[in-house]
Subunit: 706 residues, 2 copies
């Protein structure tokens, strides 16, 4: 009947508007039951459950067998890690797989069969699930004794497929690959030519004294190649050159030429290429988000205009205000936006909305959220008004900053004075006393500010929330310290007790004060710009970080599988090889990595230099060939490519920010909640009516009347 | 009289046109004698003499006393360096100073007194000369025994002031300084906060076993600061973290946070800021060059139009063609341009030239020089024609590339086979034989190509010149080898003799073949793009490189003065300090640097990593506080700032090239000789008539009639 039809249209409009708000694609089934399923699937609970499942399956690696989560990483002191019994992690895994299977079925059903066959990500999802389940069955039938577990390497895929931003970023990286490959090829040519050259230059001679260079670095082809590859990472930079240089200074020309060409030119060319490819990346992604939003709104308009209650008009379609109000009530959206839209609907005297008016109503979604701070309390008493003026004044805030600086300086002085004293000689009275004094001041400052501004207004500023939280923590810690050790007096020396003694806590208090000092940043103009750029960057970087996590996870698991059993006990290695003394700590690190490849170690060392250090070890032949390939691949991906991507993104963000800085007038009291979309608003192109309608007519499930 | 006046105008026009060609300023004296002096000063001989003087005074450091130019840099084997007698280098210096004094007087006279007082560079030049001469007199009166020689640090100034490009670049760098300073300040805040944090975190405990971290890196404030500064350069990256990490994994969070914030964010922000400032740098510099050129041409037009022979015209001024032809004959310029201008003058039927026509004539200067290769010889014989077709065909060139590749591969195979053999076991017959074969092929290839293309056409291609030169060198070396050792036979083993034996030369031959392989690059599309970008970059980088040389020179001389007498004999240091074993080679390097600070070592190690390695040593307290400050300053300037400038320039160049690549059609046979000016031609703005005339009226010496 007409009623059911109308209900369907209303529901469709609700879902389309929600799609628009979330920048989702509208290409899904639109019948009543599917719509219900769709809303349920994208409900917060459901998505939260899915994220939780992904977190759980990824976190499993920390407690699974070859990994170890212990406090110390030192093999000598470490207690044996807890080994979960066979079947425990496996049953958790099975639960996760069941959730993923439900997820993939719902997703496939919702987009429909035709779309399903075009969607490679869904196919890969199903394939991954099949492989994982097979591997799981194999694992259980061997009672968890088998070594190769493919499903672990596949796990990060579940994280990847769940984020549309990550998929988009991956596509973008993918399109840069051909040009990156060219530069990498050029690097390879550079490397191989210079390797040959080096082998001819540093050939073995009769005089054993003279060919240190040959013995150390260019003994044979793989050695030479490794030496120069490591030189490209600049890890063995002076070492590799010294024997030849001390023989004849002219040899340095070879190394300088190699480094300048390889490091300065080719490596930076990679940065240039990646930046060039990513220049438009942010803009393009924001542009496509805008298109999705406009499309969702337009689709909602189209379905609402086919409602029977609307008088059929051949020329132009209209939507009744009543229907829209009905839809708005049921849509899940930010309450501020909803109120604003309802208000403008009521202010508009018309009864019917054209497409343009409809679109215009929803532009509220794109607008800056202007944050209004609640007003200060109005006091009757003259004294209170004076207090309010005094302690609500910015100068009071500056005084607080000066006190925080004084606190930092005094801690610094104490640290310098105590630096060389034995712990038994040290007198902690002074540190305790100044802590006590400053914490009292902070408490007073907080209370006075609350009185002056009122609690609500005080809490509406993020800097105050940060301050207040730290002050409360400091106070609690201080009171606890006094309760245990009594008040500070000369010769006061709180003793250690338990895992985290209260004295540790007092030190913690001092550290927190260091952080409190950061509140001066917004007061300095350039620093504020830099910090906001960095914060923006962090928002935009989430997709990149996700991909990095995926790559790391896969690498860590591969590392565990590759280097299991390749462990040489630490003592033996040191005894047999005199070379180890050369860089003892680094060797220890590599041994740890080989032994456990644990996550903290991997995450902790993701920057270029650690990998360089590992590669440096390769040059002294400590690890086998597999390890070489593994580490070179790791270096290329995590250090060369990822760091360059990061630099490209930073350049893009900073230059946009910098260009805009001159245009925008800083508004003193109103804080804008800026999003990436807003940053680009003045350069974005609005999609045309034709583009929107063409896209709508291509919708696989929605049959528009006209 | 009118004749003298006319001669003066003609001479002025000549000089203005020459100024326009060389992009020089026209603000100099314009009377007859000054013009003669000006042309003499900017003549090739004079400028060449000036450059020679600058080179000599800079090169003096290589033979002066504390420096040493020996073959080996190893203290044990090195012969004592030659010490020039007192007075030798000093008299050379005096000669140089005399030339500089002449230079500064001529320059000051030519721009006139008024301009002189505004020109800070000239003032600084005179000041430098006065200080240098005073220092020279002091030096001689002490019979060269004094240690502090200020004039040596001032020497690079002479290089700086002689290049207008370098002065312009320096100005540009100077304008970036405030923003760089902000980031450096941010880095300093970051560093000091984390230092305090680290000192609180890694305090001394009672358990001596547990505070390795404290002993090694955070013993007191300077130590902690150095440790973290070095961590910022990533030189001690895993080492500094290992003791804490093996105690408790959670400590790694501190180091990761520090590195991510400092290295990844703040350091790259510096790149972003510098790139942002330099984005318009190239364009702006080319734009101002264009303005100078147009201004010179316009000035020439104005003086020529005041020639008495021209009929006075109130409305518009004209220049007679005859006068221009007279000027053109005497102007020193590229003969191709001169011919082209004369030709178009003759083709133009008019007798008088307006300003626009005059300007248009000289646009020939901005045009691409189209290089026409001379034609191939035309042979009568049918056989010769066939040969010409076969060996002039590109496929013959490809065959040559394949043969070069085969040569490389065969050398590679021999190297791999000989890698582990003792020199006494090795048989050089095979290498000798393949060398012989391939060199014969290269000779044949060269001769056939010369026959097919004719000698002139053959030599007109740079790739052929490169090929031909290498082939001739290879041939000479091979003949010399045969003359000494006879033809290769099994068991052939040329012996060593003298400094560079002939057998060394055979190895050199093989190295040259490696270079010959590079001729394949222009055949690959993307590689050609990359290589041309790099070559362009080298052109644009000359000014930067010059500034780098200036900075290095000053640093090297300061280093010599600072670390003279601070040398610890190598043996002793090794015996007393067990830490030296830790990175023995690096210590050696630092000792060399401290001992000699010689140029090769400095130039050889200008990349980030070596300085990092030096800073790494700082963290183990090997060098005194002065050295710390010295090296930190060096690291900041040469590694952080210069490398970032380089990256900025590379990005700028590459992105321009890349954008243009799509627009331009590659022309097969015509090679453009591209200059920076041409690269930007389509974005440059032509200066307007008003701007030019305003500038002309501001000329301090030229009184225009109107």
């Amino acid at each position: 009947g007409t009623g059911t039809n109308n209900d369907l249209y209303i529901n469709q409009a609700i879902v389309f508007i929600e799609d628009a708000i979330q920048y989702r694609s509208i290409n899904h089934r639109v019948d009543s039951k599917s719509l219900w399923l769709y809303r349920w699937y994208y409900s917060r609970t459901c998505q939260w459950l899915l994220s939780l499942t992904i977190t759980i399956i990824l976190a499993l690696a920390f407690i699974e067998k070859p990994s170890s989560l212990t406090v110390t990483s030192d093999v000598r002191y470490r207690l044996p890690a807890w080994n979960p019994p066979c079947g425990l992690t496996e049953s958790i895994e099975l639960l996760c797989f069941l959730v993923f299977m439900a997820d993939v079925s719902v997703k496939s059903y919702l987009i429909g069969w035709e779309e399903f066959w075009k969607n490679r990500w869904l196919m890969a999802y199903i394939l991954t699930l099949i492989v994982s389940l097979t591997d799981w069955i194999v694992s259980l039938s061997f009672f968890c004794t088998e070594n190769v577990r493919i499903r672990r390497i596949l796990r990060p895929f579940f994280l990847l497929q769940n984020s549309s931003m990550m998929k988009k970023t991956l596509k973008s990286i993918n399109s840069t690959l051909p040009e990156m490959a060219s530069v990498v090829l050029l690097l390879a040519v550079h490397l191989s030519l210079f390797t040959m050259f080096a082998m001819l230059l540093f050939a073995r001679t009769k005089d054993g004294q003279q060919d240190k260079e040959w013995v150390g670095y260019f003994r044979n082809l793989p050695d030479s190649l490794t030496s120069l590859l490591v030189l490209l990472t600049t890890a063995n930079n002076p070492d590799v050159m010294i024997p030849a240089y001390s023989k004849n200074r002219a040899y340095s020309v070879f190394f300088i030429l190699f480094t300048v060409l390889g490091n300065l030119f080719l490596m930076n060319l990679l940065t240039a290429i990646i930046y060039n490819q990513f220049r438009g990346y942010l803009l393009k992604s924001v542009q496509s988000s805008l298109f999705r939003r406009r499309l969702g709104i337009r689709a909602a308009f189209e379905v609402l205009s086919s409602l029977k209650e609307t008088p059929a008009n051949a020329q132009q379609s209209y939507v009744s205000v009543g229907a829209l109000l009905q839809v708005l009530q049921k849509v899940e959206m930010d309450s501020r936006c909803k109120q604003a839209i309802t208000r403008s609907l009521k202010m508009c005297s018309c009864d019917q909305l054209s497409a343009a008016q409809f679109q215009k109503l929803f532009e509220e979604l794109d607008k800056d959220a202007i944050k209004q701070h609640p007003p200060s309390p109005e006091y009757q008493s003259h004294f209170m008004q004076k207090m309010q003026f005094a302690f609500g004044h910015p100068y009071f805030g500056y005084l607080g900053n000066v006190v925080a600086l004084a606190n930092i300086v005094s801690i610094c002085v104490v640290l310098v004075m105590d630096a060389d004293k034995q712990p038994s000689e040290r007198d902690d009275f002074f540190l305790g006393a100044i802590n006590c004094f400053f914490i009292l001041y902070y408490l007073l400052e907080m209370l006075l500010k609350i009185v002056a501004l009122g609690l609500k207004r005080y809490l509406s500023y993020p800097s105050n929330r940060f301050d207040g939280l730290l002050t409360v923590i400091l106070l609690v810690l201080e009171i606890a310290t006094f309760a245990v050790y009594g008040f500070p007096h000369p010769g006061w020396r709180p003793e250690f007790m338990g895992l985290l003694s209260l004295w540790d806590m007092v030190r913690l208090v001092n550290m927190l004060i260091v952080f409190r000092f950061l509140r001066i940043i917004p007061n300095m103009k350039f620093m504020a710009l830099v910090v906001t750029t960095l914060l923006d960057l962090v928002k935009n970087l989430r997709a990149f970080a996700g991909i990095l996590v995926v790559v790391f996870y896969a690498f860590a698991i591969t590392g565990i599988m590759l280097f299991k059993g390749a462990v040489v006990p630490l003592g033996n290695t040191r005894a047999t090889s005199t070379r180890l003394l050369f860089c003892h700590f680094r060797v220890q690190l590599v041994l740890y990595l080989k032994e456990k490849c644990d996550f903290v170690a991997l995450f902790g060392h993701f920057q270029a230099e650690v990998i360089c250090c590992l590669l440096h070890l390769l040059s002294v032949n400590l690890i086998c060939r597999w390890a070489k390939i593994y580490f070179v691949a790791w270096w290329l991906i995590s250090s060369v490519i990822w760091v360059n991507l990061f630099v490209a993104l930073l350049l893009e963000n900073f230059i946009h920010k910098w260009d805009r800085r001159c245009h925008r007038e800083p508004l003193s009291d109103i804080e804008y909640q800026r999003t990436v979309e807003l940053m680009f608003r003045d350069v974005l192109e609005e999609p045309t009516e034709e583009e929107l309608m063409e896209k709508l007519h291509q919708h696989p499930h929605l049959q528009l009347c006209r």
